[in-house]
């Protein structure tokens, strides 16, 4: 990872709200970050913290009844939030930013062959004759380690791992700038998981790709990410490099610390499993002040009153916590 690489994705003050009959759920509430070329930014957090919402929002496809309520998503000097749906569909989605879903589940249409689905995607975005298109498809299938005849298979004929590879190939073959991976390995067994992760790392190196890697599995995150963004209750808790978060010094935000502690290390002796007491807050009516303060063992008075801002405490390391940033 080269710190001097250009920023290819800039997200400013992004808000994604779900407008339900019970009220407005502030799933993503004012988050900002950037992605550099050739780096992998990991997005971690508990279930429901807003990371998947962020992921789909980057393609300007929040799940209904969700809507992007504010902020900017800037790719290629364009704020895609302002673009029309038609524009986004034609020029941005998949060409500039693509997504790798949990392919092992259900994200390939069961009634079309793999080849048809890939061809359809290709011809939608690029003008190509059939020959060249087929060549491109096969090239990428081979890249992810799949043989050519997969083109004629239906999704149900493939194993979970194979489906995941197809999904990856589909995300890559238009050569987008940013690739969002949403829990790509969660539904796979451990061995296949390892294969996929190696594949991703391999591809990243070969093709100089930029990833946003969303997962709740800290171990996977540690393996693949260059920088890590920790989300909590729709807000950014901490952003730091792999070393800063997972290294000996450890993270600064109390939440991140507890998160890491809750994952037992294979080399440590564990007498008791630690956990974070309480439950994540209701995003219909988030608590005042810092969203973590009700579960934080080190909450101060100000934490209950005012929301902490995301402040850089050292190079490439930002924290949103009153206790951590009071000396800055």
């Amino acid at each position: 990872m080269n710190e001097n690489n250009e920023k290819i994705l800039q997200v400013n003050n992004l808000k994604v709200y779900y407008y339900t009959s019970k009220g407005t759920v502030k799933a993503v509430d004012d988050i900002s970050f950037f992605l550099r070329k050739g780096e992998t930014l990991g997005l971690v957090g508990e279930s429901g913290c807003g990371k998947t919402t962020t992921g789909v929002a980057l393609l300007k496809m929040p799940t209904p009844p969700g809507k992007i309520a504010g902020g900017e998503i800037i790719i290629d000097n364009q704020n895609i939030v302002e673009l029309s749906e038609k524009d986004v569909r034609k020029n941005v989605r998949w060409e500039k930013i693509a997504m790798v879903f949990q392919g092992a589940m259900n994200c390939l249409t069961p009634v079309y062959t793999i080849g048809k689905q890939m061809m359809e995607t290709l011809t939608e975005h690029k003008q190509m004759n059939k020959e060249d298109a087929k060549k491109l498809i096969v090239k990428y299938l081979n890249l992810v380690g799949l043989p050519e005849h997969i083109v004629n298979r239906y999704p149900h004929e493939l194993s979970g791992g194979m489906k995941q590879r197809v999904v990856i190939a589909m995300a890559l073959f238009l050569e987008p700038k940013v690739i969002v991976c949403d829990e790509p390995t969660t539904a796979l067994d451990v061995i296949v998981q390892a294969q996929i992760i190696n594949l991703l790392k391999d591809l990243k190196q070969k093709l100089n790709l930029s990833f946003i890697f969303i997962t709740h599995d800290l171990a996977t995150e540690a393996e693949v990410s260059d920088r890590i963004l920790v989300m909590y209750a729709g807000k950014v808790a901490e952003i730091g490099t792999n070393q800063q978060i997972y290294g000996k010094q450890g993270p600064m935000h109390p939440y991140t610390q507890k998160l890491l502690k809750a994952t037992p290390r294979i080399h440590e002796k564990v007498d008791e499993l630690s956990f974070i007491p309480g439950t994540p807050p209701d995003l219909l009516d988030p608590p005042k002040g810092c969203r973590f303060h009700l579960r934080c063992s080190e909450a101060m008075d100000i934490c209950r009153e005012k929301e902490p801002q995301l402040i850089e405490v050292e190079k490439d390391h930002c924290v949103a916590c009153w206790r951590c940033t009071k000396n800055v």
Binding site: R93, A98, F101, C107, L108, V111, E120, T121
Partner: protein, 346 residues
């Protein structure tokens, strides 16, 4: 893969049919035999009235002989289980015997002739109605799914529920009262006017007579199909692969008509055809109300005239058609769903 599936299904269907006919034979054995015996007596009397030059004793002896012969011919002298088996075989081989009263168009008494005359007319009416209703229903269902929860959706859902318990034949009665008698637009029944016109006009005449029954059928049926289609399509739209297709930049109409519809096709077709098959019931009465000379109308006549052989023949044929319909349904489903068509893993 598919052929194995198809063959299995067809085999099963035939097996079911044989078992059912056997059960019917058991169930209705007493009545059937009584009818056969009555017919034998009738034919015996027919034979002996012509014999004037024999005395009473000789006639009796002759009748006893003939009776024994006929009983043997119809297996009536065998133990009960054999009789039932014979009847099953007869039924399956379309050997239904003669009717008690009813005559076919040409005046024949053979039950199979009588029944088979009516089959094409029933198929004409109901297949046409079914196709129309499927097309309209699926189209409306799609529209509803596109704006789920909107005014069209809600109002048509209410319409579905309003006609849910409405008997088709009653609506037919009302339609006839209104459109055929009050306002004389449509004919009140029958297949065609008497005497039938020739050539192309004949074809038009039949259409004219089909119009009112079809209209009645459509009014009730297609709401249900629309409602089912809407639910299935909505269910499919929530699947991940739809979102994934959208994320890949596929235009919305391709997502809807290609990915969604194609995936929804098997359950929609199944549901639609199933509900249509089960509506065979109401159709029987329905034909009667409109005097449409199909199988349903024949049921009416057979009941009124208490013609048991015709009823049995009708039952056998109806069951055969019903099971055939179920089998065809499964075959279509298997064809549309690649998981069955292609099967297995690579």
């Amino acid at each position: 893969m598919y052929w194995k599936y198809a063959a299995k299904r067809i085999f099963y269907g035939i097996l079911m049919y044989i078992i059912l006919i056997f059960i019917f034979s058991v169930l209705f054995n007493a009545t059937n035999e009584a009818t056969t015996k009555a017919q034998i007596e009738e034919s015996l009397r027919g034979e002996t009235t012509k014999m004037r030059n024999m005395d009473v004793q000789e006639v009796q002896k002759y009748m006893a002989e003939r009776r024994a012969y006929k009983y043997h011919l119809y297996h009536l002298d065998q133990p009960i289980f054999q009789r039932i088996v014979w009847r099953t075989i007869d039924t399956i081989t379309l050997n239904f015997g003669n009717s008690t009263n009813i005559k076919s168009a040409k005046g024949e008494r053979d039950v199979w002739t009588i029944v088979s005359e009516t089959i094409p007319r029933t198929i004409l009416l109901f297949t046409t109605a079914m196709i129309l209703e499927l097309l309209l229903g699926v189209w409306l269902g799609l529209k509803k799914a596109q704006r789920a929860g909107g005014i069209l959706d809600k109002s048509t859902s209410i319409a579905t529920m309003v006609v849910y318990g409405m008997p088709r034949w009653w609506l037919g009665m009302i339609m006839i009262m209104f459109f055929a008698y009050q306002i004389n637009i449509f004919p009140s029944g029958g297949l065609h006017t008497v005497p039938p016109p020739q050539g192309f006009a004949y074809f038009l005449d039949i259409l004219y007579h089909m119009a009112l029954p079809m209209l009645t059928l459509l009014i009730i049926d297609f709401w249900g199909t629309a409602y089912l289609t809407r639910n299935i399509v909505l269910g499919t739209l929530q699947e991940d692969f739809v979102m994934s297709a959208r994320a890949r930049g596929i235009p919305e109409n391709k997502v809807l008509f290609g990915h969604t519809m194609r995936t929804s096709a098997p359950p929609i077709v199944t549901m639609a055809l199933l509900s249509l098959l089960s509506s065979i019931s109401g159709n029987i009465l329905f034909e009667g109300i409109f005097s449409w000379p199909g199988m349903g109308n024949l049921y009416w006549i057979a009941i009124e005239q208490n013609d048991v052989p015709v009823l049995m023949g009708l039952l056998a044929i109806t069951t055969a058609l019903y099971i055939a319909g179920l089998v065809i349904l499964d075959l279509i489903y298997g064809f549309l769903d690649p998981r069955i068509k292609v099967g297995g893993k690579a």
